[in-house]
């Protein structure tokens, strides 16, 4: 398959994924009880105002008409406006995006900084007590439910010990504990992943050849082996974006951070369909985008893969 064909193929499938997400969410929202018009107008609104809103937002149209209208709007790149705040949904998401990105990036750095050396060293000293203890701790941490962990961290480290602020985003320091909560969930998994990859790589002939050149063990481990072992890890990291979304949602809500996660939760409590749709589509786009990015960077980070130049 030529690169062009592959690209078009990918693009089509991405569109199908996003479209299905939009349609599915639309139907789920339709099943929600409550009159959306009252959400917009307020419960005291007169019947005339309610009628006006029904007309303005096409709430009385048959479902396929409303779906068509919404999809048409999407095609024009318009995510609509919040029924509750009248703010454009895209704007709402974009203003929240920096917080979520900062949180995810900080968490990612935290766990990689720990997972990489841990994975490398437990591979080097395979079978040692250090390796076995790491395995147990890793399995433990990756089994923890994200909501519980975030709450526990908040309770013990912020509330009881006062080492961190309890909630809100007033400074970068406020992101540290939330990022830590998120990082703990992933560090175990990635430490073991890197361990497995390193063990495989360390058995390779080029590692022996590197030693034969006179490379120190440190250089062998952290330059020759790691560079190879991390290739699949980077791709898994990209695809893990989807897995991270859930954790990010919980962490943001527990720590009252103004990110996309809290926007999503608030929109559900507010019964605000455009924002609900917007955040769901955003997550979908994020996952699709991450998979694309993984595909593209894979060709770049592994010289053995020949990609469209």
């Amino acid at each position: 398959m030529s690169p062009m064909t592959r690209f078009v193929n990918r693009l089509l499938w991405s569109c199908v994924t996003l479209l299905s997400t939009a349609v599915l969410t639309f139907f789920l929202l339709n099943a929600l009880p409550g009159d959306v018009a009252r959400v917009i107008a307020g419960s005291k609104a007169s019947p005339e105002v309610i009628k006006e809103i029904h007309a303005k937002f096409h709430l009385d149209d048959p479902w396929w008409k409303r779906l068509g209208f919404y999809l048409g709007q999407l095609a024009r790149g318009d995510l609509g406006r919040s029924y509750v705040t009248d703010q454009p949904v895209a704007e709402a998401i974009l203003t929240r995006l920096p917080t979520t990105t900062a949180l995810a990036a900080m968490a990612g750095m935290m766990w990689m900084v720990v997972a990489v050396p841990l994975g490398a060293l437990t591979a080097r000293f395979r079978g040692s007590r250090f390796d076995r203890i790491t395995l147990v701790v890793a399995t433990l941490t990756l089994s923890l439910p994200s909501f519980w962990l975030a709450r526990m961290m908040q309770y013990w480290l912020a509330y009881k010990l006062g080492w961190f602020p309890v909630a809100a985003f007033r400074s970068l320091w406020h992101l540290v504990l939330p990022a830590l909560s998120l990082a703990i969930l992933f560090v175990g998994y990635y430490a073991r992943l890197i361990h497995t990859q390193m063990v495989e790589v360390l058995d390779s002939p080029y590692i022996r050849a590197a030693r034969a050149k006179g490379c120190s063990e440190t250089r062998v481990l952290f330059k020759h082996a790691l560079r190879n072992a991390l290739i699949p890890v980077v791709t898994i990291l990209g695809m893990d974006v989807a897995g991270m979304l859930g954790g990010v949602l919980f962490v943001e809500n527990v720590f009252a951070l103004p990110g996309v996660g809290t926007l999503a939760v608030q929109s559900v409590f507010n019964l605000d369909p455009p924002v609900i749709m917007g955040t769901v589509l955003f997550s979908g786009a994020l996952v699709v985008g991450a998979n694309w990015a993984v595909d593209l960077t894979y060709g770049w980070i592994d010289p053995r893969i020949k990609h469209a130049n």
């Binding site: 009880p33 409550g34 009159d35 009252r38 959400v39 107008a41 307020g42 419960s43 005291k44 609104a45 007169s46 019947p47 005339e48 105002v49 509750v84 705040t85 009248d86 703010q87 709402a92 203003t95 929240r96 709450r151 908040q154 309770y155 912020a158 509330y159 006062g162 602020p165 309890v166 909630a167 809100a168 809500n253 527990v254 720590f255 009252a256 951070l257 103004p258 809290t262 926007l263 608030q266 409590f269 507010n270 019964l271």
Partner: protein, 527 residues
């Protein structure tokens, strides 16, 4: 007695009110709430939590102290005609909007007309319908409300259709001036960046994130500006907020109607750090279950009385713990007009069963109770369900959001039983009885008479009481009406809530208020 007191206070207005010690000490008041305000426009505000912001952004004509004392505010003096039909206000000079313009009497006329204008969809507009010409204006038959006039820049006259001794209280929340030119300029943005004459103005509102208020540089008012600003975090949950408070990241533990979260209450009341800071305030409030008199089996008064006898209301209202005060009827103890001699329904399951068998309905009697989702409501609903089961009533519980409950209950033949309550806007029975039990409000339109209760005798008494100026006679009529209502049992009477508040030690001032719950404009930081 009340009007005399009011008049005396009005005359005393010229004398300086006692200045709180160390006012203008500054500092930012840090609060937290779960959701964004629905609106900051005083004309559109409905939710209790949003109402709390009104005194920060606006300066009302009159204010209430200690729950029942009307005092001048933006009006430096006021008086009424002897028959309590005409209200006359003299405006305090030098009061300005946050845009710098001086407030004039015409601004009040504009604001009140705006509230009555159906296009504004003001939820509290019904409280203004007593003004002469209001109904005609609302029906768009006239361009102005005849009863509102501004003879000069600093005089405002409000003429009621009928005598109304309580209208002054309405003006403590709705007597707010609004600059017409700003409403025209901002349009719907006025809900987000309102322009008022209050001590603070909106500095920034990041939806779902944070609401920040800063000092209004043009403010002139009775209550000094104690703070530099207010910072309201939006989001999180009750647990997080409480943890933030205990760690000193918030200045008041909880600003919702619920007060301090109950699960933490015992711990906090034993904690040396906090226990002497916990304060309690009874509210002008009534908890009850609406019994829809138009939906069988609740059409039968014996069933309704049986329900009242079956519920151990002191238990589910947590009266022994102090969360509520025992209630026999509708009017709470602290409200003027409360009848200490009123006897309602005792907790008597045996009597309940007897009444049910008298009603002659096939057992088990089945019906549905709608209730809000939150834990406290759920627990209470489940308690009621247990109690009713004991007497042969099978109750299905239907948890819904608060918004859904409110909407549904106003629709005819929709909700059989609804766990709800009423917060009085006025410390007088006219609100708590008049809005809910007037049979003429039962039409197919949305109504506050959520039991769809119709008793012409009650209607007659309500009509008679409302304009009654003599307080003794007035309250006597209301009490008679209440007795009939209690006998007819369109509600399962539960009790009257008390509120518990908790603040940081260095926050001083009269924070809590029976009518407003919290008044943030009255607090300051100890330097």
């Amino acid at each position: 007695m009340l009007p005399l007191l009011v008049l005396a206070t009005a005359l005393l207005s010229a004398a300086a009110l006692p200045e709180p010690a160390n006012s203008r000490s500054g500092g930012i008041l840090r609060l937290a709430r779960l959701f964004d305000p629905a609106t900051l426009d005083a004309a559109k505000v409905e939710l209790t939590e949003d109402v709390l912001l009104v005194p920060l952004l606006n300066q009302t004509l009159l204010d209430v102290r200690d729950g029942t004392n009307l005092v001048p505010n933006a009006a430096s003096e006021w008086s009424t005609s002897p028959d309590k039909r005409i209200y006359h206000f003299r405006l305090r000079p030098g009061v300005r909007f946050s845009n710098g313009r001086e407030v004039v009497a015409a601004d009040y006329v504009y604001a009140l007309e705006r509230m009555l204008d159906p296009a504004t969809a003001c939820g509290m507009a019904s409280y203004l319908k007593g003004i002469r010409g209001a109904s005609g204006f609302t029906a768009r038959l006239t361009n102005h409300v005849a009863g509102l006039s501004a003879p000069s820049r600093e005089t405002l006259n409000i003429e009621m259709e009928r005598p109304d001794p309580t209208f002054g209280f309405i003006l403590t929340s709705q007597g707010v001036a609004v600059p017409q030119e700003e409403v025209a300029r901002l349009g719907p943005q006025f809900s987000i960046r309102p322009v008022g004459a209050g001590p603070y103005l909106v500095r920034e509102w990041k939806r779902g994130v944070r609401l920040r208020l800063a000092r209004n540089p043009h403010y002139r008012g009775v209550e000094p500006q104690h703070l530099d600003g207010v910072d309201i975090l939006i989001g999180g949950d009750e647990t997080t907020h409480l943890m933030m408070f205990e760690r000193g990241e918030l200045d008041i533990a909880n600003i919702t109607f619920a007060g301090i979260p109950r699960p933490s209450f015992h711990r906090l009341s034993r904690d040396r750090r906090w226990r002497d800071l916990i304060e309690s305030e009874p509210l002008f409030e009534s908890d009850f279950i609406t019994l829809n008199t138009e939906v069988p089996p609740l059409t039968n008064v014996l069933v309704r009385r049986a329900i009242n006898h079956a519920i151990n209301r002191d238990k589910w209202e947590h009266v022994p713990d102090g969360y509520a005060t025992h209630g026999e009827g509708v009017i709470p103890r602290i409200m003027p007009g409360f009848n200490p001699a009123l006897r309602g329904y005792t907790f008597d399951p045996g009597k309940a069963r007897q009444l049910l068998s008298e009603a002659g309905l096939p057992t088990p009697v089945r019906t549905v109770l709608w209730h809000p989702l939150d834990g406290l409501s759920r627990d209470e609903a489940q308690g009621v369900q247990e109690d009713l089961k004991q007497v042969g009533i099978e109750l299905t519980l239907k948890p819904v959001t608060f918004a859904q409950l409110e909407t549904a209950m106003q629709i005819r033949h929709q909700v059989p039983m609804g766990l709800t309550g009423w917060s009085a806007a006025i410390p007088d029975p006219v609100d708590i009885l008049g809005q809910q039990f007037d049979g003429r409000a039962v039409t197919n339109a949305a109504t506050w008479n959520q039991a769809f209760y119709q008793n012409p005798e009650v209607d007659r008494l309500l009509d008679e009481a409302a304009p009654e100026v003599d307080l003794k006679r007035r309250f006597g009529i209301y009490q008679r009406a209440e007795e009939i209502i209690v006998r007819d049992a369109p509600l399962a009477f539960l009790g009257h809530r008390n509120m518990y508040g908790l603040r940081q030690r260095r926050l001083k001032g009269a924070l809590m208020d029976s009518l407003w719950t919290y008044r943030f404009d009255r607090v300051w930081f100890e330097p």
